[in-house]
């Protein structure tokens, strides 16, 4: 029955002269999401509104589900189109609409008419009153409430007449592509995909880097990360995933540095490598899934020591989240099931029984001097192993 969707967006509205850039990004993202849906659609931007028009048969549920993944959308309103065949016909169509959509008529309502076409013979006030009366006549159990109606019946007079009253909540946020690009350090865990999702929600395009350590980590662990990137791309758009072989660096650190400091030093080198790839790919920041105190390498002291190697800003959207809160988001966005598959990642192999929890930067730096001989060469070698996978939903 519905033939179009009115797309509502919240934060874009306040962006002044940049508004059209945000709207354009939103239109692009909507088009990208609709590619996955059966049917043909046209996305239009008129009078500060974005409409998705169905040009063919389409699957309503599938279309709504996919629109719900587009950041920037605050609400999705399914719309019916009515030809302008005079007021009487309009009133009849509105009554039919109410009858179909609301099975239980024990509700309060209000008609909200709006004329984009000012040559319509009745003005908005008249339309509100007359159409409201028509609905009341048809369904005496319904009541008008002009302040807090259960249902707001929108009637927009355009070339055709649009009727809508349902608003399905969207994910909110800002359209991906409206806010630059950042590099996500993606592991196989629960946290990093959620971190990527949250930054993408603020309109940031996501590239990602994964460090694997064959033979200590398997192809299945790598595939799991590719699968996670795919799941994130459902919201974030195509994710360019860089896969870096980290084994030699890890073994070198293992040989040359105290075992308790392996993880923290390793993380510093991961950040360094991620930053180099980020700069080569026009990323303006790094994203990690760190949360204060979750593990030894995420104490405030450890975070400070890790952070010290970075010159790009590091976005840590989960910094104040409890584990359960992170799990909740991962379940909501559908990454949890994949994240908990039991393949070892390179952060957990070789991990010391008692890793340092309060590393001292000076001591860490002193121990890193043991790596001077070969580390630069090994980092370059690692960068050369870069395998690019484009993850698409």
């Amino acid at each position: 029955m519905f033939s179009a969707f009115l797309i509502k967006y919240a934060e874009i509205g306040v962006k002044g002269k940049n508004k059209y850039l945000f709207e354009e990004a939103l239109v692009q993202q909507i088009k990208y999401a609709l590619k996955r849906c059966e049917g043909e659609f046209k996305v239009t931007r008129t009078d500060g509104r974005i409409y998705v028009h169905a040009l063919s048969e389409f699957d309503y549920d599938e279309t709504v589900d996919n629109l719900k993944t587009v950041f920037g959308i605050s609400g999705i309103c399914p719309v019916i189109h009515v030809e302008d065949e005079g007021y009487e016909k309009l009133a009849q169509k509105l009554v039919e609409y109410v009858d179909k959509v609301y099975e239980d008529k024990n509700i309060t309502f209000k008609v909200h008419a709006r004329r984009a076409r000012k040559n319509y013979p009745m003005n908005s006030m008249e339309l509100n009153m007359e159409l409201g009366g028509a609905v009341l006549d048809a369904f005496p159990e319904m009541k008008v409430d002009v302040h807090h109606p259960d249902v707001m019946l929108h009637v927009e007079i355009r070339e055709k007449i649009y009727i809508y009253s349902i608003e399905i909540p969207g994910p909110g946020g800002m359209p991906v592509g409206s806010n630059g690009k950042a590099m996500l350090l993606l592991s196989g865990g629960i946290d990093s995909p959620v971190a990527g999702y949250m930054i993408a929600k603020r309109g940031v395009k996501i590239d990602a880097v994964y460090f694997h350590a064959p033979p200590y980590t398997s192809d299945r662990a790598k595939q799991k990360v590719i699968d996670l990137a795919k799941l994130v791309s459902r919201y974030a758009g195509p994710v360019y995933l860089h896969i870096i072989n980290f084994t030699d660096i890890q073994l070198y650190i293992y040989e040359k540095c105290p075992h308790e400091e392996l993880t923290i030093i390793m993380r510093r080198y991961m950040m360094k490598i991620a930053e180099r790839i980020a700069r080569e790919n026009e990323c303006l920041g790094l994203i990690t899934g760190e949360s204060i105190g979750q593990v030894a390498s995420q104490t405030v002291q450890s975070l400070a020591v890790t952070n010290e190697v970075c010159t790009l800003p590091v976005f840590r959207p989960l910094i104040g989240f409890d584990k359960m809160e992170i799990v909740d988001v991962s379940e909501k966005i559908g990454t949890y099931e994949t994240s908990i598959l039991p393949y070892e990642d390179c952060c957990t192999i070789f991990v010391a029984k008692h890793p340092v929890t309060k590393p001292n930067l000076n001591i860490i730096k002193r121990h890193e001097q043991n790596l001077e001989e070969k580390i630069e060469e090994l980092m370059q070698k690692a960068l050369d192993t870069d395998e690019l996978v484009i993850a698409r939903w």
Partner: protein
């Protein structure tokens, strides 16, 4: 060089099998239950397959039921017989080292109200007949013992167990999971007092998704799948004609030249065990000699995590398994090795090498050389 030493997980299909199956899928694709010529043609393949297998086991062809593989054969045998015979008693016996297809089915039957005894094994992975004798009670209706263990290759005393069971009570049914043993040994159910025998196609160079269950005609069994009543109602569902024909072809090929192939496998096993024992601090589990299966060698390598060695070998083109393929993806270590008393430390350091008729001496030498090269390197970096 690519060296596939994971033949207990699955085997490469014989070319002849694949060719025959392609032909059946594309040309003789009829439903063997159809009344027309196309159906009759398909049915011929099924009849021929039953004939091949029945001759091979020296049983009647009416006693062969095709299934989707080892797991379904085990499920049908255990659940089908337990339910059909529960009036005679509700006690079942199996071993601690069975494949999950048996162990998990037994767990399920416990939920249905059956009592199950799990026989322990010795350090070599074999049950003791005294334990079996002690376990049998007046309530016992079925004993299920695997022919050859999938993780360490230990072989169970099937003929002696069969004789013992029938001596104590001829009514007790004897099921044998021969998924790893069939195709390596001549198995004659009537002589060995086996009432039910599970076999899988893809372990003997046949296709995946097919197997059979031998059921002695005197056995009372109920179906576990319901539908069109094919195969005497014991196993409903359209017969998988191409796979069944492929399975029979594989049986013919494997048994066509069995003695020579087995001799060759033992030669390979001996050479491999000898070579592996040159590495410091390794233990060959089970039977390193000819008292064990010819195609499985389980090795524990102290100080090397099995998954790491597996992937390091993979990098050199050598494919092996950590423990057994069925348990390798789960975090808990192998139940078989634990039942054999392998120490906790070595449970996570155990690799299974399994050979087939395609395995060559050259591949064995390459594998040994690769292990000599990488194990000292891997031992330098260990978690502690």
């Amino acid at each position: 060089m690519e060296v596939y030493l994971d033949n207990s997980a699955t085997t490469r299909c014989f070319d002849e099998v694949a060719a025959l199956m392609t032909q059946i899928m594309c040309e003789d694709y009829g439903n063997s239950s159809s009344l027309h010529r196309k159906g009759v043609q398909a049915e011929k393949y099924i009849r021929y397959a039953k004939d091949v297998i029945a001759r091979n086991l020296k049983v009647n062809e009416k006693e062969i039921f095709f299934t989707s593989g080892g797991t379904e054969s085990d499920n049908l045998a255990l659940i089908g017989c337990a339910r059909a015979n529960c009036r005679s008693g509700r006690h079942l016996i199996t071993t601690q080292i069975e494949h999950p297809a048996v162990l998990k089915t037994m767990k399920h039957l416990e939920e249905e109200g059956f009592r199950v005894t799990y026989l322990p094994v010795d350090q070599k992975g074999c049950i003791r007949l005294e334990d079996l004798q002690r376990a049998i009670t007046g309530e016992t209706i079925l004993v299920s013992i695997m022919h050859t263990n999938n993780e360490v290759g230990s072989m169970q005393p099937i003929a002696q167990a069969g004789a013992l069971i029938k001596k104590m009570n001829p009514k007790i049914l004897f099921h044998v999971d021969a998924v790893q043993g069939y195709g390596k040994f001549r198995i004659y159910p009537k002589k060995m007092k086996i009432d039910l025998l599970s076999v899988s196609g893809h372990k003997i160079h046949g296709p995946k998704g097919v197997g059979f269950l031998y059921v002695d005609e005197k056995v009372k069994i109920k179906p576990i799948l319901f539908g069109g009543g094919q195969q005497n109602g014991i196993r409903s569902g359209t017969e998988n004609v191409p796979a069944v024909a492929g399975l029979a072809k594989a049986v013919e090929m494997v048994y066509g030249n069995l003695d020579q192939e087995i001799e060759n496998l033992y030669r390979i096993k001996r050479a491999f065990v000898e070579g592996v024992q040159k590495i410091d601090d390794v233990i060959v589990n089970g039977h390193p000699d000819e008292t064990g299966a010819p195609h499985v060698v389980s090795v524990s390598i102290r100080g090397v995590r099995s998954e790491v060695l597996l992937h390091a070998l993979e990098d050199q083109g050598i494919y092996v398994s950590a423990g057994s393929a069925c348990s390798a993806r789960k975090p808990q270590p192998s139940a078989t090795l634990r039942a054999m008393g392998v120490s906790e430390e070595l449970l996570g350091s155990t690799i299974r090498f399994s050979f087939s008729v395609f395995t060559t001496m050259e591949e064995i030498n390459y594998t040994l050389q690769t292990m000599y090269d990488i194990i000292p390197m891997l031992r330098r970096y260990t978690r502690n």
